[in-house]
């Protein structure tokens, strides 16, 4: 990505989260990865103005408490949050999930591959595409939002922040 904003991963599975982290590292993507384990925690993170808003959200669908579709319903109904592109990253190829996701304005829907090389290729394409795309400012008044810099401390307290490796 062009920006220094973090990428928000909403994923309950630790192994999958580690795989994303590993792929970003292998691809030398320098954006910080912030992880929350369900939609509710993701909303909590996104609504907290002391935390940097992500440039991109990678969203799993099947999660406890608040799943991906429920998360999209809320996030895409909020003025600022709706601007952030959401790419679904799931093992579900079910028609219903695809339709619901696209109706809720996702900007991509990628199937997770169990094969790491294929998974890496998916993340590589996501990174290249969103590096080329312009990104919207996320402050209401057009000014830079607080914490738009890459300070690591901002996300240290995020629940279930991926801390492998």
């Amino acid at each position: 990505m062009q920006t220094v904003q973090p990428i928000l991963l909403v994923e309950d599975d630790n192994i999958d989260a580690m795989t994303v982290k590993r792929a970003l590292k292998d691809l030398k993507v320098t954006n910080q990865l912030v992880r929350t384990t369900n939609g509710e925690l993701a909303l909590g993170y996104l609504r907290d103005d002391s935390r940097p808003k992500p440039c991109l959200i990678l969203l799993d669908l099947n999660m406890p408490k608040m799943n991906g579709i429920e998360f999209l319903k809320v996030a895409k109904d909020e003025q600022i949050l709706k601007r952030i592109p959401v790419v679904v990253l799931t093992t579900s190829g079910e028609q219903r999930d695809l339709v619901d996701s696209y109706k809720l304005s996702v900007a991509g829907y990628m199937l997770k591959s169990v094969d790491y090389k294929n998974f890496l290729e998916t993340i590589r394409i996501v990174d290249l595409y969103w590096t080329l795309s312009q990104m919207p400012e996320l402050a209401e008044d057009g000014k830079s939002p607080p914490g738009l810099c890459e300070s690591d401390k901002d996300a240290e307290n995020v629940p279930a922040l991926a801390d492998n490796e």
């Binding site: 895409k76 003025q79 709706k82 601007r83 952030i84 592109p85 190829g93 079910e94 028609q95 695809l98 339709v99 696209y102 109706k103 304005s105 996702v106 900007a107 991509g108 829907y109 990628m110 199937l111 290729e121 998916t122 394409i125 996501v126 290249l128 595409y129 969103w130 080329l132 795309s133 312009q134 990104m135 919207p136 400012e137 057009g142």
Partner: protein, 161 residues
């Protein structure tokens, strides 16, 4: 990208439309390219059941009659059309346009380059990304449907009304 479905280009500029066509040919992207000159023509195309639903819409912003933002307001308010991914392809770097586009659910915002090699790279990346992406009817397409000729309305499918 689903090769049997067209790409809809909404752009009033002939030179720009030719550049898209040329880049697709050079990149061997075989999807048919359908062009509408403004948002209104695009809406007319999309609402006509005899037309094939595109897998992707490439949208210019500055156009006469109905511009790109107005098109998005109409398309994203339509339960069927809202599912088709729209990628903005424009010369405008303006933050206001970028923000408005994302608030209207675009799935990418690419600034056109006057340099053909750079422009071609943008088209290549769009193709690569949307080839990797799953989209709804890619998965439900019945085995016996003829490519590009499937009647979604009859099948109660998601795209056409």
């Amino acid at each position: 990208m689903e090769k049997h479905k067209p790409i809809l280009l909404v752009d009033d500029d002939d030179i720009d439309a030719m550049a898209v066509e040329r880049a697709m040919r050079d990149l061997k992207i075989t999807n048919q390219l359908i062009r509408a000159n403004d948002g209104e023509q695009a809406i007319d195309y999309l609402r006509n059941r005899n037309n094939r639903t595109p897998c992707l819409i490439l949208l210019d912003l500055n156009m006469p009659r109905m511009n790109g933002i107005e098109f998005l307001k109409a398309a994203k308010n339509d339960d069927d059309l809202k599912m088709i991914p729209v990628v903005v392809l424009t010369t405008s770097h303006e933050q206001r346009d970028i923000v408005e586009s994302f608030e209207l659910s675009v799935a990418g915002y690419m600034v056109k380059s006057a340099d053909y090699a750079e422009f071609s790279e943008i088209i290549r990346m769009i193709d690569l990304y949307w080839t990797q992406c799953k989209t709804p009817d890619q998965i439900v397409r019945p085995e016996n449907s003829r490519a590009g000729n499937f009647d979604y309305a009859k099948a109660g499918g998601p795209i056409r009304r």
